[in-house]
Symmetry: C2
Subunit: 347 residues, 2 copies
């Protein structure tokens, strides 16, 4: 089966009518439509995407850009695949296909995105892993291509995004630890160039201030969000004089390495030190003592992202009305025993 032309002459109908029949246009006899659909099915005809895109200037494809930076590769885990599931559950209802656009290691994400946008291969985009200064927002806004970011924008201008509530998590974690009597609390985070790293520490800092505890930069341990990173955090923790009695992790995978390093030094999480972590994943369940951490449904976050995106696409916006296109996604505390180690309560 070559194209719509062959299908049309096989049916002895004009190609215009065939197109209208396939696309559900109103002015076509129901009986003809049935014949066309049957023939298309039988001959396995599917419209050529290039021709269609060229004509109507739309591809019906949404792109999810992911950076497989060294760091991401190590920790992204199944996060993106799970988000993808949530996205698709919404997008497919509108016959929008989702593709993933992996930015190569050695290419600048901005340049990569520019290429993809210019090629006009997708109608809209979801970008991820936003940075403190991220030129991609303005690029997309200027190109007038609808998008939503997984990760907030810190620039002044308002862009659509949804982001996990790092701020709130750091806050709650500090609150909880302080309530247990801790006052010297370390925190691990990736580079502050990455929004995640910045926001997380900001929330921590403000929470400390609220409790009247001085913010000590030495307690902010920058490390990779991997097991190795966790091990390294343990290392640095042990080297600190006046060792912290509690530590907040940004990523549960790190707990594996951290536990290991601490155990090697004879320090037992939950007994000699309190550990709280952001973002629980299934594997954290197998740590012992069980990790106290914050969790959410990543699938539902994908759904939220899709809805924000559709709401900013002219063709779908009336179906997804919103008053705000910026979502801070809440997380839920899953108590474990890793923070059972308590000091005297403050009062």
């Amino acid at each position: 089966m070559k194209g719509i032309r062959q299908l049309a002459e096989h049916l002895d109908i004009s190609i215009g009518t065939v197109s209208r029949a396939l696309n559900g246009k109103p002015d076509v006899n129901e009986e003809t439509r049935k014949r066309v659909l049957a023939a298309a099915e039988q001959l396995g005809y599917v419209a050529n995407q290039s021709g269609r895109s060229l004509r109507q200037g739309t591809t019906n494809v949404i792109g999810l850009m992911i950076q497989s930076s060294r760091e991401t590769v190590e920790n992204s885990d199944n996060f993106f695949l799970t988000v993808t599931g949530g996205l698709q559950s919404v997008l497919l209802r509108h016959k929008l296909d989702l593709i993933m656009l992996p930015c190569p290691h050695d290419e600048d994400p901005y340049e990569y995105l520019k290429r993809m946008v210019a090629r006009r291969i997708v109608d809209a985009l979801i970008i991820s892993e936003t940075h403190r200064v991220d030129k991609r927002f303005d690029l997309l806004a200027k190109a007038k291509i609808p998008f939503v970011a997984l990760g907030r924008s810190l620039s002044g201008t308002q862009h659509p995004w949804a982001d996990l509530d790092f701020d709130g998590v750091a806050n709650s974690a500090v609150d909880r630890l302080v309530a247990h009597g801790h006052r010297r609390i370390a925190i691990s985070a990736p580079s502050s160039d990455i929004n995640l790293g910045f926001i997380f520490v900001e929330g921590y800092r403000r929470a400390l201030e609220r409790h009247g505890i001085a913010y000590d930069p030495a307690l902010v341990l920058r490390a990779k969000s991997s097991e190795q990173g966790g091990y390294q955090v343990g290392d640095e923790l042990l080297k600190l004089q006046d060792r912290p009695t509690a530590v907040i992790l940004i990523y549960e995978l790190m707990a594996i390495g951290l536990y290991r390093r601490l155990m090697e030094a004879g320090i037992v999480p939950g007994r000699n030190i309190a550990v709280v972590s952001f973002r629980e994943a299934p594997r954290a369940k197998f740590l012992q003592p069980a990790l106290t951490c914050f969790r959410t449904s990543v699938h539902d976050l994908g759904v939220e992202l899709a809805e924000i995106l559709l709401s900013s696409m002219p063709a779908y916006s009336q179906e997804y009305p919103r008053n705000t296109r910026q979502t801070i996604w809440p997380l839920e505390l899953i108590p474990g025993e890793s923070d059972s180690f308590q000091l005297m309560a403050a009062e």
Copy 2:
């Protein structure tokens, strides 16, 4: 910047010449070419992909199809992102972009692939997670679209693929364990509908036969390739009468759950039972005792896949000559202590 037409009249050159200049065709003055390239760069012009594809019947995009089936989502880890890195390192040299096509949970992979093929959104495909009977091979062959599978084909006809050497791993694992005196060896594997599950157990069975050990189906423990699956394997192991003295895992993540379950029962891996696993990942390093497992460079496997694929694309085949398009990818044994538990040697 709209299209090549605007660019052409801005330069006061015909659109044909502009196109030739941009595409590096020979019959264009070098000085004009420079002007064109400069103007394109300055105005940010990039050729519209739809127009180009429509004309030359090629998209310069390669698709990597992944199934985010429940099982895959849980264990795929960063396997696909790492493979993607290897693929891109080759494909980008030929200006071929890679996109990932995630098949939705609730859609049949075959139907999904059919849609993607018919839409003609990619020039060639990499498919993954091949099944015992996998109609996708014939679909792609019939559609004459170049492809390579990550995972072997078990049908009679010859298709291009590269696959990890499950067979060899099971073989070596059994050899090693038998040499240590074990004769009652359990194995974990996913469903035998999946090639991986089938081949792995086949290799195990043949190795046992070679050593004159009877194959006992009760020792084949089907489970998910996740921590939970590992825990479950431990459960079943404990329930077996005449408990095996050794167990072979298909996936290192499972070791986390298995260790946990065994420890709960007071059985220490490496002391009371021998554990060997397929496919090492970074996190396995943090298990204690260290897991004995087989490892390879997944990145390089991606490179191999890309080369097989290009060798079967007419436009590139002369650059990648091969006599065979089927690769069994070897793995390397990384000895740990999880299999230090030895029985009397046989002789």
